[in-house]
Symmetry: C2
Subunit: 186 residues, 2 copies
């Protein structure tokens, strides 16, 4: 089952390495940030992991929704991995504007393994259609949720956000979905 | 099948992005290298991808075999991926000494997805034993070989090296295996 392995890969090869260091990285970022923006007043100190059901993840959120803008990158993490010296891991910080024009800061990214599911559904001999891909995305989400629930090192350091397909042509579908999840945790 | 998805992920999310740029990166590295070492006289301009059958990949080759030493990192590649701005990809260059004490330069790393296979066999509820893991490594190797054979962008830019288990306690098992493959291509 492709999704099963990708969820484990995402946890063992990434989340387990980066989530324990996230809070310190945010603290360093705030200390260095000249605008003195605060993650605490509005936003989240957890990694928001977006899981779009259609698996077609964008590479730049601001192209999808202009209420989202890139704010900066957290300090990079460097780890020796499988023969690659000082492999770099970093997260991007985004500003998300709500309907009252207030700004929320959050660290977020799409779940990269979804790009593999999408890519496989495009390659004819990977043996993978669009219906199967959707099923695999749901399986990826459930498996990842279960793995993270059992993980002590990652507890309270992430938020998994399953995104339904865009409804119609709402240009602020993405920011609204994110803000809804940010409010839920307060 | 876990290995099937991991092979596709390794290709779609990594090799397909980095292999086309490898030769230029090596050229830049040689130009900047004060020692003026040459990849052309002895060594390889292909990415050596090591696939150890026991999946227990080391993070530092020199810890395994002191005929191998870290030489430097190629110029980093930065790509916007799934919301991570300027995600960094880099390869490490190693010096490998042969039995006549001559030095060969090569770009190599362990196939990172093997770390996932190894990790899964250690987590009790991933549902994965050691015998199954070995089978998955072979399946990973065969699937990856087939994907790369079909890939125009990656042609001639890599060498897949399947490593059997260390025979006994040969401290130079790894360097010998690599050198054997380097000679094969001449
Ligand atoms: N040697 C090596 N150097 C790299 O820079 C690299 N980047 C990816 N990979 C391997 O390629 C495949 C596809 O990667 P993808 O990004 O879809 O999944 C990745 C991705 O979802 C997440 N991840 C890993 N590193 C990062 C990172 N730096 N930023 C964001 N996500 C990351 O965790 C998954 C597993 O990572 P790895 O277990 O290291 O192996 C990957 C994987 O087998 C790499 N392998």
């Amino acid at each position: 089952n492709v999704a099963h392995g990708l969820a484990w890969s995402f946890y063992l090869g990434y989340l387990r390495l980066v989530l324990p260091r996230l809070d310190d990285n945010i603290t360093t970022f705030c200390a260095q940030d000249k605008n003195n923006s605060s993650f605490l007043s509005r936003g989240s100190r957890k990694l928001l992991i977006l899981v779009p059901l259609n698996a077609n993840t964008s590479h730049k959120f601001e192209d999808e929704d202009n209420n989202i803008s890139f704010y900066g990158n957290l300090p990079k993490v460097e780890i020796n991995r499988a023969g690659v010296r000082q492999r770099v891991f970093k997260h991007s910080v985004y500003k998300v504007k709500d309907e009252h024009n207030r700004v929320h800061l959050c660290v977020m990214e799409n779940a990269t393994p979804l790009l593999t599911l999408y890519g496989m559904s495009q390659e004819s001999y990977a043996g993978f259609g669009e219906a199967e891909r959707r099923h695999q995305v749901k399986l990826f989400y459930r498996t990842l949720q279960e793995i993270l629930d059992h993980s002590l090192e990652c507890r309270n350091r992430y938020k998994l956000i399953l995104l339904n397909d865009k409804d119609g042509n709402d240009p602020h579908f993405l920011s609204k979905a994110i803000l809804q999840h940010l409010e839920q945790q307060e």
